[in-house]
């Protein structure tokens, strides 16, 4: 049986984590509590899966990572500095947030315009913007799609481009919301490969336990707005009783 009371990580935590959440509380405007004291540390290059039932607060948590939502209580620290109005622009360059529905993420008429949006707003020069767009699209295997329109592409392709839109901003941490939802097996395989290959730290919310087993050595289980488990994925995924308790299924 795993020790559930004390969240722990395998590697010794360095003094400054890439991302640190301290006692995050958040309540929706309608009064429903979403996060009730979430604390978490993510180090550079670490890949973390965020699992838990619908309504556990996964998406809400992700929206805190780049300051879209601000918790009234608790703090989000990126590179050791708290997210505040003065640091928000830098934070958004460090933390790349990708939404679940690529139709929300991709709002420009062409793929190029969309991937260039982030770099342009970072104030980069034209040559640099073009180079970053080319590199980001190549990274997700979508080179040559620059002039295409998002609504003419498959869901898998759109998800890849959505990831490229933040890769072009050269973030240190990727926050992805259910990247594998709705993908066919081939597109899913491609995504697994992509997530494995990307060097960035990532925190990925998902219901896909196979994805967790294949990509993420560490998992965080959210239940009712609290961290129920934070540790290596393998022992958790092998424990049927635990999986059952949190409404998860065996990979």
């Amino acid at each position: 049986m795993l020790d559930l009371a004390e969240p722990h990580t395998d590697q010794p935590a360095p003094t400054v984590a890439m991302l640190e959440l301290r006692g995050l509380h958040y309540t929706y405007p309608d009064g429903t509590p979403a996060l009730r004291g979430v604390s978490l540390r993510v180090c550079a290059g670490e890949k973390v899966a965020l699992v838990g039932p619908n309504g556990a607060g996964k998406s809400t948590l992700l929206l805190h990572l780049n300051g879209v939502l601000r918790a009234p209580e608790g703090a989000v620290l990126v590179d050791g500095a708290p997210v505040a109005d003065t640091t928000i622009r830098q934070v958004r360059a460090r933390v790349g947030l990708v939404f679940q529905d690529p139709d929300d993420q991709l709002f420009s008429p062409t793929v190029f315009d969309d991937v260039a949006f982030g770099p342009l707003h970072m104030g980069l020069g034209e040559a640099e913007v073009r180079e970053r767009v080319a590199r980001a699209l190549a990274q997700v295997g979508m080179a040559g799609f620059e002039r295409r329109m998002p609504h003419h592409m498959s869901l898998g392709q759109r998800k890849r481009v959505a990831i490229a839109t933040v890769l072009a901003m050269d973030p240190a941490l990727l926050a992805l919301d259910e990247p594998s939802a709705g993908l066919d097996p081939r597109a899913r395989r491609g995504l697994v490969q992509l997530l494995r290959d990307l060097p960035q730290a990532m925190i990925v919310s998902t219901h896909d336990m196979r994805l967790v087993a294949e990509v993420f050595p560490r998992m965080v289980v959210l239940a009712e707005g609290q961290v129920a488990y934070d540790g290596p994925s393998a022992p958790f995924l092998a424990d049927s009783a635990l999986l059952e308790r949190y409404g998860l299924e065996r990979p």
Binding site: L63, R89, R92, L106, F107, S108, P109, L120
Partner: protein, 271 residues
């Protein structure tokens, strides 16, 4: 894509000198063509015919079916029918009297010419616009508008409308399909629900569609914020027009201006 593709859509990726032209040049020449048509006085048939010839020549150069463009351009004719009142309101030689109760409508020759001119001019203008849209990707038109200094906000509104029109239509069609799938009837049983109830359902669907779009717009805004948006829209700079493109604009604009000018000189000013 579930929007019925227009018959002209399939020409968008073909190759021709017109397709290869820069969108800015095409956009400006199209606007100049429509402006020239608008400036021609009624009954300036020589001028109208010259512009029509140039336009049709361009359509042929673009390897688009001329007949198709002509037929598609009829869509705007209902709007031109507003000009029908001209037939009866212009002073001129009476042609026909229509007694209408206490009133008598008198059709005049000048009125008829004015009406026919409006009809032909609007038909040709729509053809010019069709030539532009059939040979230019809409995204290129957007870039051209931006390059021609249309305010960034207006261009952004257009591009969002274009991007999400398809998403919205898909969503509406899914809702309609879902309703259809549950609109069953039992044999020998009158379909239930009053007209009012059915109308309410449709109203609620429209409301739902609006709410979904509204929520989506908030998600899109958050997605923009997440990528550094701060209220200012930025775009890459455009390459300057080449000598050849500038020359083409100059020649095209010059020809159109000359046609309008000559018409006024020959006709002794507007009638």
């Amino acid at each position: 894509m579930t929007l019925a593709p227009s018959a002209l859509d399939r020409y968008i990726d073909s190759k021709s000198p017109v397709h290869a032209l820069d969108a800015r040049v095409k956009l400006l020449l199209t606007l100049a063509c429509i402006l020239a048509l608008g400036l021609l006085p009624p009954g300036a048939w020589a001028g109208i015919a010259t512009i029509a010839t140039i336009l049709w020549w361009a359509v042929l150069r673009a390897r688009i079916g001329l007949g198709l463009v002509m037929r598609r351009a009829f869509v705007a004719l209902p709007f031109a029918l507003v000009a029908l009142t001209l037939v009866f309101s212009r002073p001129g030689v009476p042609l026909l009297r229509l007694p209408l109760g206490p009133l008598t409508l008198t059709a005049t020759d000048a009125g008829l010419i004015a009406f026919a001119s409006v009809l032909v001019k609007s038909w040709l203008s729509v053809q010019a616009a069709l030539l532009l849209t059939a040979t230019t990707h809409f995204t290129d038109v957007l870039h051209a508008l931006r390059a021609l200094r249309l305010p960034a906000v207006l261009v952004a509104i257009l591009s969002f409308a274009y991007r999400y029109l398809f998403v919205l239509v898909d969503e509406a069609q899914r809702m309609l399909r879902a309703r259809e799938c549950r609109s069953a009837e039992l044999p020998g049983q009158r379909p239930g629900g009053s007209i009012v109830w059915r109308a309410t359902v449709v109203g609620q669907m429209v409301g739902t569609l609006f709410l979904r779009s509204y929520e989506r717009s908030e998600r899109i805004y958050v997605a923009m914020l997440s990528r550094g948006y701060s209220g200012e829209l930025r775009a890459l700079h455009h390459r300057p027009l080449s000598r050849r493109e500038q020359g083409l604009l100059f020649v095209g604009g010059g020809i159109l201006a000359a046609i309008v000018f000559l018409t006024y000189v020959a006709g002794g000013g507007p009638r």
